[in-house]
């Protein structure tokens, strides 16, 4: 079909005829200083904290510092497009990001704009990035488990839906790996996952997205990226954006899991902004409200009460420590806000114990209530045996003359440590986890050489998969009865007969 120019102009003319022209009145201020992702605006007396500011050239900003005579703004875009003397407009809106099912499977920036080249996101709903955390009445204690699929965590540091569990450790100790495995394990659990990458290399994020894609996890996941190359303001904003996207699902009565990787870099970006805005620096040059920065974010994770649909938002913040120092400023802050921590240790990591969880220093303060009963039946014994082993191990290095009982405890301990090791990207069902721990607890592995324990474990899983599907389903329904245990013992013996 060909359209003649006069046709077009007549169509346009008709359109314009029906138009109602209106006059926009907006409050303005004058940019008096700009640079480093920060602008100061003179005037604009009635602006709200957190309000979006419209700069020339379609650049967005957010008012952070309301001072007596000027407004300090952070800029989400190219600072270069703004110059001194420019007019900035108020929008009278708090910064909002798109939320909804449409976001699933997408990689977005802190403003919810797509980064994955899959075209526009057709979101209809927008929610403000900063929302007040819910009150006490709207919540209830956690009661359903959030399975990470990792034996060491689900058994000893169980996490409940709506909980905030910190993953903390030095660099390269497998922090991100735990988070990713947890996402992979939500495949059949109907939990929406949000992974917020703050201040990471783009290549690392790309790797993670590739894995999520390959394992089919992207379809229930949103990835929010503010990479190291992005401005401090976007890095500062990203966890709040991600949280808003997660809250949408929680408020719909669904379950969501959000991972902040990592809040140390988030604190650093906030420190940068604060120093540029000339807020007074405090300990380690962080501003005075750096505690509030994380507390208001993590308080938004919650389990709703039944009237509100009993949805949940579970948060797994990550903190990087320097030389295992848990007493530094940001780590202590975040430890005190969360409901427990998973402490990863580089010494364990390099000695081949992966995930490198230090069971002694890791706790989950509320997740115990949510732990699956069958699992609970085996973990008490596991914890005690491991603690005893940790003590004896140090002792055993000095003397060789150990009595029988001590040697037995050491043998058991070594095998328990061995079965808690787990490769990346291989989350396990609760039934399998319970089974292998049961097997070790009951001493079936004591006769097996430590090097062969993994082989027995694999044999067990394949036997279970091929022959005992129904049994496994039924065994996790309640705590292990004597009958079930007897059946389990039989399977153990059967597996062992092959070795």
């Amino acid at each position: 079909m060909k359209i003649q120019p006069d046709e077009i102009s007549s169509i346009l003319r008709n359109k314009i005829k029906g138009l109602k022209f209106d006059i926009d009145i907006s409050e303005t201020g004058k940019v008096v200083q700009v640079g480093d992702g920060i602008a100061r605006i003179y005037g604009m007396d009635n602006v709200m904290a957190g309000e979006m500011i419209d700069f020339p050239g379609d650049v967005m900003g957010m008012a952070l510092n309301l001072e007596e005579d000027n407004v300090g703004c952070i800029i989400f875009g190219e600072t270069r497009k703004i110059k001194e003397g420019d007019i900035a407009k108020r929008t009278k809106k708090i910064l909002q990001v798109p939320v909804g099912e449409e976001m699933l499977g997408r990689v977005v920036n802190a403003l919810g704009e797509p980064l994955d080249g899959k075209g526009q996101i057709k979101a209809e709903t927008y929610h403000p990035v900063e929302r007040k955390a819910l009150g006490v009445v709207q919540r209830q204690p956690v009661k359903e488990p959030l399975q990470t699929g990792l034996k060491a965590i689900d058994s000893m540091i169980p996490i409940g839906r709506g909980q905030r569990e910190l993953i903390i450790g030095d660099r390269q100790t497998g922090k991100t790996a735990i988070a990713i495995d947890t996402i992979l394990n939500q495949k059949d659990a109907d939990v929406v996952c949000i992974y917020v990458a703050i201040g990471q290399k783009k290549s690392s994020v790309a790797k993670i997205v590739n894995i999520l894609n390959a394992k089919g996890a992207m379809k229930y996941t949103i990835v929010v990226v503010a990479s190291a190359a992005e401005s401090a303001s976007l890095q500062y904003l990203s966890p709040y954006s991600g949280c808003t996207m997660g809250e949408f699902f929680r408020d719909k009565g669904k379950h969501a899991l959000i991972i902040y990787d990592d809040l140390s870099k988030h604190a650093v970006s906030y420190r940068e902004l604060s120093l540029l805005l000339r807020r007074p620096p405090g300990r380690e040059a962080y501003p005075g409200d750096v505690f509030y920065l994380h507390s208001r974010l993590l308080e938004r994770a919650s389990k709703l009460n039944d009237e509100l649909g009993s949805g949940s938002l579970t948060a797994l913040p990550i903190i990087e420590t320097q030389a295992d120092d848990l007493t530094a400023y940001i780590p202590t802050n975040v430890i005190s806000i969360t409901d427990g921590q998973i402490f990863l240790n580089s010494r364990l990591f390099y000695s081949g114990i992966r995930p490198a969880i230090n069971a002694g220093l890791s706790v989950s303060r509320v997740g115990g209530n949510a732990q699956i009963k069958s699992m609970k039946s085996v973990t008490g014994q596991l914890r005690v045996a491991l603690a005893q082993y940790a003590e004896l191990e140090a002792f055993a290095k000095f003397g060789s003359d150990l009595d029988k009982a001590t040697q037995a405890q050491l043998t058991r301990g070594r095998r328990l440590v061995e079965i808690l090791k787990q490769a990346q990207y291989s989350p396990l069902s609760v039934a399998k986890q319970t089974f292998i721990i049961f097997m070790a607890n009951e001493g079936y592995l004591d006769e097996i050489e430590v090097e062969n324990v993994k082989k027995v474990e694999e044999e067990l899983y394949s036997t279970l998969d091929s022959e005992y599907k129904e049994f496994m389903e039924s065994m996790v329904k309640d705590k292990l009865s004597e009958e079930t245990k007897e059946a389990m013992r039989k399977i153990c013996k059967k597996v062992l007969s092959k070795f």
Binding site: D22, D24, I25, S26, G43, I87
Partner: protein
Amino acid sequence: MKNILVAQRYSQAIISGLDTKEINFVLADVEIMSNSLKTEQELVNAVNSYLFPLKKRLKIAMEMTQNLKYTRLWENLFSILLKKHRFNIITDILLDLENEIFEKKNLIKVGLTIAHELPKNVLDSISTQLTDILEKDIILEIKIDPEILGGFVATTDSLLIDGSIKNNLVKLIKVKLKKMK
């Protein structure tokens, strides 16, 4: 930023010592001076520069005040500014003085941008509309800018009133784009 605040302190000090009649004369002085300094930023810089002896700079500054009504006042202000090495904020002071005086007289200066010359009756009607919105008597400073296509854009210190065709079209396009998505 700091300059604006310092300038405000100076201008407030000046105004606080004036009665209503004097204010009008000062306003006239301010207008003359800002008009002549508007294009003379280099002169201002030179007068504020340590490169030249203070005596000479003082002399030049005093000469600048000769044709004004309140010579004494300006002479005092200029010599204080020069000795404090603050002469560079003179334009800010003048601007703020003007604003303060306008405020007192319930006047407001409005920059009005239009696409092309308009007949007087149209301008008057825009003016009345603006007076209604701003609730003040207005002084128009008209600028022609064909880029806005039609209608008008009015700016004051703290408001932007945009009734231009350009703005309306931009909004229309944005809505259409959103629908197309």
